[in-house]
Symmetry: C2
Subunit: 395 residues, 2 copies
């Protein structure tokens, strides 16, 4: 018998224990039982007819969710970040001018990625907690004359909502492509890819779609598709290369080819989430998020918590950010929610909030119900009382 050099690890002899959680942070959200069930089936081959059918159905589902008729609509087999990276990798060639709207973590990430792909990046910034006016954007477009503008519809790191309607027309006047991050927004707030003239858009699946993470879904306008096919050099990343991946997804009028091994398990889960969206109706899903947000916002206000985003119209309804200064101990608050009620509330990703710390309350997909909102508010009240007592006893 062969001699092993490294012994079997003892930690793997213990059972796997997964506690039940209510995930009311900025994502992931809880997963609907129907979606979990879809993953419990056996695996299919990536070249099986049934897998192709699931892929075709997903394409239709994404087109409905994004409100688009784009041919080049598909999923990458990696987490949400791959959506951002795939779009930048395919649309940027070395030396291309790229304008990135930075008002939080995601803009910062996009600027980093765009530079790695050889883009000459201009960062357009605004104070944290604010969004960009179209006047400011237009002045940058006219000065920089970029090939691509990247902007985030919902900046989860600060809870800021960015209006997109009308921006596509402005970009196109300057011969600039518009790429939009929809990770925390699409399905929760209105988005019309074709009508708003958006050229590239993507989202993660673990937020409003309430699917375990592992896929990013995206779509490219005919204009963006042409840019990809007219490239002088291939995209740096084979895994994100839309010229080949799009053929595996049968987005072009060409036979399907093998690019990589797709996961029938994750695709089945996404398919079921999109099917539930189609059943409930996109407009009803958005309405449900609005109704839940109204209740949540009122409840948070009644608790005396302070919104980080000052202007009401700039608040993202799917991720509400609250600023805690010295009212109570932020960590005591979060620990209380997690330990007593197994409730996850998000904390801040940013260090630059001017002294305070952020609490971030998500409201997405399967968790966007009045039942979950009432539970969350009830726990947050108790947690605040607890944390205030702890804070005052420290005085």
């Amino acid at each position: 018998m062969m001699k092993m050099e490294v012994a079997p690890p003892k930690v793997l002899k213990q059972p796997l224990v997964i506690p039940q959680r209510v995930l009311m942070g900025p994502g992931p959200s809880n997963v609907h039982p129907r979606v979990l069930h879809a993953m419990s089936h056996n695996v299919l081959g990536h070249m099986n007819q049934e897998t192709f059918q699931i892929m075709d159905e997903i394409k239709e589902g994404i087109r409905y969710l994004f409100q688009t008729k784009n041919d080049l609509t598909l999923a990458t087999s990696a987490t949400g970040h791959s959506g951002m990276e795939a779009i930048l990798c395919n649309l940027i060639e070395p030396g291309d001018k790229v304008l990135v709207a930075v008002n939080g973590l995601w803009g910062t990430r996009a600027a980093d990625m765009a530079e790695r792909y050889g883009g000459v990046v201009t960062e357009m910034t605004v104070k944290l907690g604010k969004n960009f006016t179209f006047d400011v954007i237009e002045s940058f477009l006219s000065k920089v004359r970029p090939k691509l503008l990247f902007i985030v519809q919902g900046e989860t790191s600060t809870g800021v909502f960015q209006p997109i309607e009308g921006l596509g027309k402005i970009c196109h006047r300057y011969d600039c492509l518009l790429a939009v991050d929809l990770v925390a927004t699409v399905g929760g707030v209105p988005f019309f890819m074709d009508k708003w003239e958006v050229d590239a858009a993507y989202t993660a699946v673990q937020k409003i779609l309430s699917v375990p993470t592992g896929l990013a879904i995206m779509s490219f306008s005919p204009k963006a598709q042409k840019v990809i096919f007219d490239r002088k050099i291939p995209p740096k990343v084979f895994f994100w290369d839309m010229r080949i991946l799009g053929q595996q997804w049968k987005c072009y009028d060409k036979p399907r080819i093998y690019h990589h091994t797709v996961s029938s398990s994750l695709l089945s889960a996404l398919r079921e989430s999109l099917a539930m969206l189609a059943e409930e109706g996109l407009e009803n899903v958005i309405k449900r998020h609005e109704i839940c947000y109204e209740r949540l916002a009122k409840g948070l206000q009644d608790l005396g918590l302070k919104f980080f985003v000052e202007e009401e119209k700039d608040r993202l309804i799917t991720v509400t950010s609250l600023i805690v200064r010295d009212e109570f101990d932020h960590k005591e608050f979060l620990d209380f929610c997690m330990k007593k009620y197994s409730l996850e509330i998000g904390t801040g990703l940013l260090g630059q909030t001017g002294g305070g710390k952020l609490l971030r309350v998500g409201l997405m997909g399967y968790n966007a119900t009045l039942e979950t909102v009432e539970f969350t508010l009830k726990v947050m009240k108790e947690a605040k009382d607890h944390a205030e007592t702890k804070s005052s006893s420290k005085l």
Copy 2:
């Protein structure tokens, strides 16, 4: 109520139907019920303590599977291809000389990726169905003097096994890093990362580990890790950047940071697969593959099928390739297996087999049992009889 531009797709109103399959192609393999069950739990947050614990346990499991003590050992949240791409992306800087062993699809892919990352690639080729002798490799090392050699232990596109033991020492004499693709091999055939002085290695999870695809696992030697940290420019891809990703996985002596949202569902599945490996014992799992292969190989020979790889010692036991010329109709054979018995046998990915067509029989992980082998042989006999009748009736 908001007016929708794209209606809910009718195809999503039909139920999801996933047929039961026996997947005896070159991957994916069937998934153990314990692994499927692990994915049926609710989702955890990516910053939850339980998720960190699962990640730590997975690192130990990978170290056991790869027989290594490397610090930089982790999973990327994308399918198997991401392992190949992450290794090349991190180890290659523009202008670096890279030697790629090409005797099938995977070498070809690696050469393509290495070029995209700016590598100056030399392809070392051999006739399809053959592997590389150490003499040939050494002559290339001494002529090319590459920074990195990329080679595949099991070339699934042709069913060729490549010996690796001893190669690390040769590479290091020429100051060259050794990267090995283990996608179809580790766990099914012996591999000792540290003892064999391999600098970078990766595998997919949907083959011998029998986990639904969506993760790639990999490990880097201290020498490779140093190369990554000494880079002059950052890796092109943020998603594969081991300097940041390794910190999320707590591979360095630094606090954990957020890089991307890992999937607790897929990680739980992988954790369970690695736990089963630890329970059965790596040497026993390898032995099980050997025993099943002996039975399979004898059965295929008795059926009068022709091995594509001529030399017995060069045959990969986890993927057996058979060449069909005009003995029978290759498509009739495959269709019969799939339609009558829901058995998937793989076909060839390559067009250059010298006229014939390939059948590829996988023997991996959960499917490496005598029961499944006997079933496969029985169906293949029937399929061959059927396809021969069809072929002769066409005469």
